[in-house]
Amino acid sequence: MAIEVRIPTILRSYTGGAKAVDGSGDTLADLLTDLDARHPGLRDRLIKDGSLHRFVNVYVNDEDVRFLGSLDTKLADGDNVTILPAVAGGALPAAGGPVAPRS
């Protein structure tokens, strides 16, 4: 089964410049493992400590996977996956990395 995955500019060095690649898998985690076999290193840019990296947004059929089950999101033939860099930042130089301030 084929799932089209749209790759953002910053990660196209892993796909030979391709804007979209095909992959397969029953879940998002499976799909990323499948992609990593052909595009080594890609998975590590998306997953950190077993979770989806906060620096990226991943969408399945235009829904943010954070609301679908994250890496456990179920996939089916013909689904499309879009990866975008999260656009975030701000003045607060939080120690230990970027986190949203909580008062």
Partner: protein, 169 residues
């Protein structure tokens, strides 16, 4: 050296957006044709964090805007946001999130009510390079965004060798 060349009218609208949202951080994109390096279409974005020290594009709004740019053969030429109490220089947070290596990261500071500070940077693999800002064209008078007594003094960076004062007719 890379230079950000940007229309005065676009700069005015970025600053107006930052002033409007002050003291929360404002953020947005200026799209331009792929490969042109010309920021032409301003797209103010919601700050999903609604914070004075953090900003994040709403993920669904971002998807819609990025897809629209794709459909129009555009790319994010400028990604801008404001710092509301500190200098317009990328923070560690800004640097760690920067995921568009081709974009000009424009920072505006609204810490001074009467002085607009705007600076531009490239951020690639955690490395920050400041670049001159070259503003072209006349200010847009009577636009809906600005107040009648809009401030017209801009500070483009704080080091002389990074400032391009050239103002072509």
């Amino acid at each position: 050296m890379r230079v950000l060349t940007i229309d005065r009218g676009v700069v005015d609208r970025i600053i107006a957006h930052a002033r409007r949202d002050h003291p929360e951080e404002a953020c947005g994109v200026v799209a331009g044709p792929v490969g042109s390096d010309r920021p032409e279409r301003l797209i103010p974005m919601d700050n999903a964090e609604r914070s004075m020290t953090f900003y994040r594009f709403d993920s669904m709004e971002q998807l819609r805007v990025w897809r629209e740019m794709d459909d129009r053969d555009e790319e994010p030429v400028v990604i801008y946001h404001s710092h509301t109490a500190t200098e317009p220089y990328p923070s560690r947070t800004d640097i760690s999130f920067a995921g568009e290596p081709g974009a000009h990261y424009v920072l505006v500071s609204t810490r001074e009510p009467t002085v607009d500070e705007i600076r531009s940077f490239r951020i690639v693999d955690g490395e920050v390079t400041e670049e001159p800002v070259r503003v072209i064209g006349a200010s847009v008078d009577g636009g809906p965004a600005g107040s009648p007594d809009a401030v017209t003094t801009y500070m483009f960076g704080q080091t002389q060798n990074n400032v391009d004062y050239e103002c072509p007719a």
